[in-house]
């Protein structure tokens, strides 16, 4: 448990029968961070979020919480359809005893881009609008921890960017736990991430670390000069596992690991006096890393 932990779980298990549920989960969410929860469908993300939110009980294990107010915004929020957007936000604040004046309500709606719809009844809102309203209803409560389940799944590209920007801003106000299957979103806004597969944690740590696993160890080197000659020279280097001329002026180079290549390439080019025109690494995105993590577990 870190000293700035806001919420965490220890040996958390909730089983729904044979191999479904979550098992022996340990995680720690630090204050003021955006914490991503990713995993395939049925991995146990919703169970974990529900237990953190207190709407479901753990089977065994412990939840450690330093938060006074934890709010859960489900993927498809639902409200009394005859309430206006402003009333939903106002009542949400009043229910938890947060300030619920017209200024607070207007500010929350403005932050999610629903100012124009403030006085409209929410019954006819689209899924995306209801997601925004759910977020506004959460923000106005000033939670210590805001749990968001797929907050951008129903939004158009512009709306998604807006909401992701808002979530990025939120780390100054509260701790955010965000479940999403859109790994690009997670990579964009989260500081830390836990990957859950089959109810078990297969990876946990800073997003930067997981992205680091995808650092390239293969590059295309476009040079001024003959590629086959450079390929021969590079193949003799101890840190190189493969060097092929794939075009007249382009070498495909593979190193033992990313660090070896990152230090070896500039040194070798300088030694052999080869001018470099371009360098392109084969960086894996979070999606590829996620797939490799989940496949590893499946095997």
């Amino acid at each position: 448990m870190s000293t700035d932990e806001m919420i965490g779980v220890e040996k958390l298990t909730r089983s729904y029968g044979t191999n479904t549920g979550i098992f022996d989960i340990d995680l720690s969410v630090r204050e003021g961070r955006v914490f991503g929860v990713v995993g395939p469908n049925g991995a146990g993300k919703t169970t974990l979020l529900s237990i953190l939110a207190g709407t479901r009980a753990p089977g065994s294990g412990r939840v450690r919480s330093h938060a006074e107010r934890v709010l859960f915004c489900p993927d498809v929020p639902d409200f009394e359809p005859w309430l206006t957007a402003a009333e939903v936000v106002e009542f949400s604040a009043r229910m938890v005893g947060a300030p619920a004046g017209s200024a607070e309500v207007a500010r929350a709606l403005e932050r999610v881009g629903l100012t124009e719809a403030a006085d409209r009844r929410n019954g006819r809102f689209s899924r995306g609008m209801r997601q925004r309203l759910g977020l506004a209803a959460g923000l106005v409560c000033r939670p210590d921890v805001l749990i968001l389940d797929e907050p951008a799944s129903g939004l158009d590209p512009r709306g998604r960017v807006d909401i992701l920007d808002l979530i990025t801003e939120l780390r100054r106000e509260c701790t955010v736990i965000l479940a999403s299957h859109l790994l690009g979103d997670v990579q964009r806004v989260c500081d830390d991430v836990v990957v859950i597969v089959g109810g078990r944690v297969v990876h946990q740590g800073p997003v930067a670390d997981i992205a680091d696993q995808g650092r390239p160890n293969a590059w295309h080197l476009r040079i001024r000069g003959r590629a086959d000659h450079l390929a021969e020279l590079l193949a003799a280097e101890s840190w190189v596992t493969r060097a092929d001329a794939v075009e007249e002026d382009c070498v495909l180079l593979e190193a033992f690991d990313a660090a070896a290549g990152e230090s070896g390439i500039p040194r070798a080019l300088a030694e052999h006096g080869v001018p470099l025109v371009g360098l392109h690494g084969h960086q894996e995105d979070l999606e590829s890393i996620f797939l490799s993590l989940t496949n590893r577990t499946d095997r």
């Binding site: 939110a53 934890v70 709010l71 489900p74 309430l83 009542f91 009043r94 938890v96």
Partner: protein, 255 residues
């Protein structure tokens, strides 16, 4: 915070027009009941234009104020109670969908705070509608028959209101057993039908909650309201029990 949840329920009754519909339905029963008693002979004649029933030498007894009010109760017992079930189910199916359930349950500490406003407001609406219906029934009865005393009739109607509270408590219990709105209505109706069936048994008749609806009729037929004490006791015990069980089960529910 509690005030907020009561305000939401008040808005539900007003904006969904359920309060208006309840009052109109009970008022309609208050009109139709006494009128159908007063015009019983004419109605039979209209139903038998060929005069075939006349050959059977059927005699329609002279209708009284008790029959007029009883006719109103006969309408209210099944139809009014069903409407109250529907109105209460709208409020009490808070866990029907996870989206709405999470909205309330992650903000409202304690099941009682969440559920009680959803019991109290529909129950008040049902009692109000029943009293309005009873008042209208009394007025039409007084117009055509020797009117029974208004205070006693309304006091008896108030006992019918206790039955309406019982109906709402049954819906609360049903909503703690099942989540889907239709299933809640089905379970509640089933429980009420069983109660009504039990009331049909001679040795249980005076104890059945449904007997309370007769409260507004008793003054017109010269029977003291005290005769309903066993039914009052049963209804109060069952209402409190149903609510306690509903709160207990609802509190243990997971989303």
């Amino acid at each position: 915070m509690n005030g907020t949840l009561y305000r939401i329920e008040a808005l539900r009754l007003l904006r969904t027009h359920t309060l208006l519909l309840l009052v109109l339905a009970f008022t309609a029963a208050g009109v139709v009941g006494p009128l159908s008693a007063y015009f019983m002979e004419d109605l039979l004649r209209l139903a038998d234009p060929e005069g075939e029933l006349a050959a059977l030498d059927l005699k329609v007894p002279t209708m009284t104020a008790g029959d007029a009010l009883g006719s109103h109760v006969e309408l209210v017992a099944p139809l009014g109670a069903l409407l109250v079930v529907l109105v209460a189910a709208m409020a009490l199916t808070v866990d029907a969908g996870p989206g709405r359930s999470v909205f309330y349950r992650s903000r409202v500490p304690g099941t009682a705070r969440l559920i009680l406003p959803r019991v109290v407001l529909p129950a008040l609406a049902a009692v109000l509608a029943h009293l309005v219906g009873a008042l209208v029934a009394w007025a039409f009865t007084a117009m055509f028959f020797d009117g029974p005393p208004l205070p006693a009739t309304m006091l008896g109607a108030l006992l019918g209101g206790v039955y309406m509270v019982f109906v709402v408590a049954v819906v609360a219990l049903a909503s703690s057993l099942v989540r889907n709105a239709l299933a809640v209505v089905g379970v509640a109706v089933l429980v009420l039908v069983v109660c009504a069936g039990a009331g049909g048994l001679p040795f249980l008749a005076e104890w059945a909650p449904g007997a309370l609806l007769q409260g507004m009729v008793l003054p017109a037929v010269g029977t003291p309201l005290g005769d309903l004490l066993p039914a009052i006791a049963t209804t109060v015990v069952l209402t409190v029990g149903a609510l306690a069980l509903a709160l207990n089960r609802s509190g243990a529910r997971e989303i």
